[in-house]
């Protein structure tokens, strides 16, 4: 027994089976990420003024990752086109380039971007104690300029033990530039380039803090959705890379020698998925990095 239309197209639909399958799968993926993005919108619209952080992500690095992912979408098309022209050598190189792009993207995300966040600290000050930390928050300046209030002090936590030890009464934080110099007009908007914490140390009494944590998913609705969506997106990238590696290994050359069109179809289907993963990132990047 064989399943019809696995490689050739069905005359009245003009499609082979896997192409129908992948488009249906992508439709469900649209709904999955659609659900997550809707949640993001829902939570962001619900957030009180000052409770939705801005400028906490590294924009140049995100831009670079965006470029890498777009580039890989181009190379995967070239790989497919090479197969269609039966140029296996060229296919092999383009596929390698695609895999490398995916790996670089994931490495940047997992080795650089995420750990940098895990190492950063933020403390939301109780509403009634905001005045006490005016020198770090600059809320009078913000109010005069019509900016949303600043409720959180961020930076590098010097005494990490303070997170769990109830005997330590305050957090020692090397302040981020925005808290080190809050009334500087240059700090009114997030910066394009990442600015590391300054040498200026602030002591924040735990008594005055409403909620303090490292930049983990539990930090805020913002980071919760950032880590969930980029994490899920990262898993999609990983899945795509694994499939591409399988198609690049010698085992797929055997399929190519038997039936090159079959391999081309597989690359086309995987490529469609890859474009979708790319497209999701095109939404993730502005939503979290820029807006």
């Amino acid at each position: 027994m064989e399943i019809p239309y696995t490689v050739s197209t069905r005359p009245d639909t003009g499609l082979w089976n896997a192409k129908v399958g992948i488009w249906l799968f992508l439709a469900s993926e649209v709904m999955l990420f659609g659900g997550l993005f809707s949640a993001y919108i829902f939570l962001r619209l619900d957030a009180p003024p000052g409770m939705w952080p801005h400028g906490l992500l590294n924009v140049p690095v995100g831009t670079m990752n965006t470029a890498i992912l777009i580039m890989s979408s181009v190379t995967v098309v070239l790989a497919w086109a090479a197969l269609k022209m039966r140029r296996y050598r060229a296919y092999w190189w383009y596929m390698l380039a695609t895999i490398l792009c995916g790996v670089i993207f994931l490495t940047v995300k997992l080795v650089y971007e995420w750990p940098q966040k895990f190492d950063h600290f933020g403390a939301y000050i109780k509403p009634e104690e905001l005045g006490k930390y005016e020198q770090y928050l600059g809320n009078e300046h913000a109010a005069a300029k019509g900016l949303p209030p600043r409720l959180e002090i961020t930076g590098h936590l010097h005494n990490r033990a303070a997170l769990n030890d109830p005997n330590i009464k305050d957090y020692e934080v090397a302040l981020d530039p925005v808290n080190a110099d809050p009334i500087n007009p240059a700090m009114d908007r997030p910066h394009f380039f990442y600015m590391p914490p300054t040498d200026k140390i602030a002591k924040i009494e735990k008594e005055d803090v409403q909620y303090a944590t490292m930049f983990l998913p539990k930090h805020s609705a913002y980071f919760a959705s950032y880590f969930t969506i980029t994490g899920l997106h990262g898993m999609h990238v990983l899945g795509g890379v694994l499939v591409f590696i399988y198609m690049w290994l010698p085992v797929s050359k055997k399929l190519y020698q038997r039936n090159p069109e079959h391999l081309a179809n597989r690359v086309e289907v995987a490529g469609l998925f890859w474009h979708f993963v790319d497209l999701i990132w095109i939404f993730v990047f502005p939503l979290f990095y820029l807006l």
Binding site: V7, F25, Y211, A221, A224, H262
Partner: protein
Amino acid sequence: MDASTSLETHHDPHAHVAEHEHHELGWWRKYVFSTDHKVIGIQYGFTGLIFLFFGFSLMMLMRWQLAYPGQALPVIGKFLPHIFGPGTMPDGKMTPDFYNSLGAMHGTIMVFLGIVPLAFAAFGNFVVPLQIGAPDMAFPKVNMASYWAVFVGSIVMLISFFVPGGAAKSGWTSYVPLAAIADSGPGHLPVFNGQTLWLIGFIFLITSSLLGAINFIATIIQLRAKGLTWMRLPFFVWAQFVTAFLLLLAFPPLEAGIIMQLMDRVADTSFFMPAGLVVNGAALHISGGGSPLLWQHLFWFLAHPEVYVLILPGMGIIAEILANNSRKPLWGYKSLVFSVLTIGFLSFIVWAHHMWLTGMGSAVSAFFQTTTLIISIPSVIILSAFFISLWGGSIRFTVPMLFATAFLPMFGIGGLTGIPLAFNSADLYLHDTYYVIAHFHYIVAPGTIFALFAGIYYWFPKATGRKMNDFWGKVHFWPTLICMNVIFLPMFLQGMAGMHRRWYDGGQGWTVSGDHTIWGLTGFQWNTPISWAAWIMGLAQIPFIINFFWSIKHGEKVNDNPWEATTLEWTAPSPPPHGNFVTTPVAYRGPYEYSLPGREQDFTMQNEPVEPSERTRRKPPAELVRA
């Protein structure tokens, strides 16, 4: 097509002799890790039936607590603490936590492990490829993966009964913030607790449904036999096609919600947690900023289309059986197809009618009330077409037909009692009462489950080559029909008397309408006859179970088309071999050509070529066809 195209399914290049090769597959590959749609369908069928009975057993336990609150359950009550743990039924008396676990898991298991695997996956897998004349599903390996995903999901759900604290207990809806803080804290393990396992199990169930849905749609689009155009598809195939789309597009947003609730539980995020929550007298140390309403939206975005996932395959089964046993074409085939498509579309924009009490705002409520009332129109069209199909038929009251005819008024009651719930002002009173329980159980219990029984009796000969016993089928049918009504009809009255659906003591402590009796019994006292009916209905399933297994080996042997039906699955041998058909089928006509004038037999199969005499009068006068 060249031989390499068979790579997806066989590594043997001589795929055209695959039928011979099939017999060389080992036992494990043939019956357990099989890629054959019929084997997978039967696996799904057994899984679904087992879980339907298990979910029903949970309810039979709860019915004891409702009828005799606080009393020790005789005999069984002594054993249960040994199975489910000492905290569940000490001395045979049910604890509130255990009652809540039973309630949440009854709903979850019935819907996601009982009816979806049976109605959608089992019947869809077994019947759809046969009805469209396909050798198998479009992606056999994906098909196998989807079964094993549901298997893993079901095991995770079962394990959750035995972890410290017991299974999930926040209702099948898992409303937050209750669900996000349940089963945590002292006495609970970090991940191996009821609610977290519920979420993890769900991810597997969703994966399974998504893979299945993709497979079904691709199969129906791509693998229809030659000549089987869209308007020649049996209605059952249309119903499964729409159902697959509902699962494909409605499940992912719930998956997003499940992932977020999982994050809330294991990573302490606050997707669904507002700031300022106090639990056990202490403020929760969370960031806040989340929204409980968000969960409800994501949940019901799936769970309302899910209602149609539960009923549409049942309607498809009923359509096949009604046409076959009334020996006349299904009335209004085109209206049925367009109605089912309309239902599929509208079911995506009615979800918030489950949320009238959340204070969404009257504008939102007005919108969803309108769409909800509109969706009743295609449902009524379908039910009316079914009733009219019986008109003037030469009805054969076979066992499948008994269940199918019982389906019609039962589904009618379920549907019509839903209309008061669709109006948000009426729902304010009826919400979360037993009225709601009665309403949706009339649709899924004597509705869908009757359709499933009908389908099992109907296609059993195709799967085994033998018929199930008629007499015992009737012994199964009549008590089940009576008990269903004794169980659910009084619940309307209880609900209107104000009895809340989640009360642990059956309303005893609230003295529901203590002075006011309905037919001599108060709201609380009605629990007793309901419970007895439920237990008797449990006993009434024994003839079915025995009949089912006995008939596999010893049932009456029948030919390939015992019901004298017209659709393509009856042209295949019974049971169909690997690859299904002896000769590749070609369809020449519509699916329900019963009692065609000028024919010797009263049925004309889809693969019978159109005769020259038929061509001369392409459209026979309507009164002849419907005579």
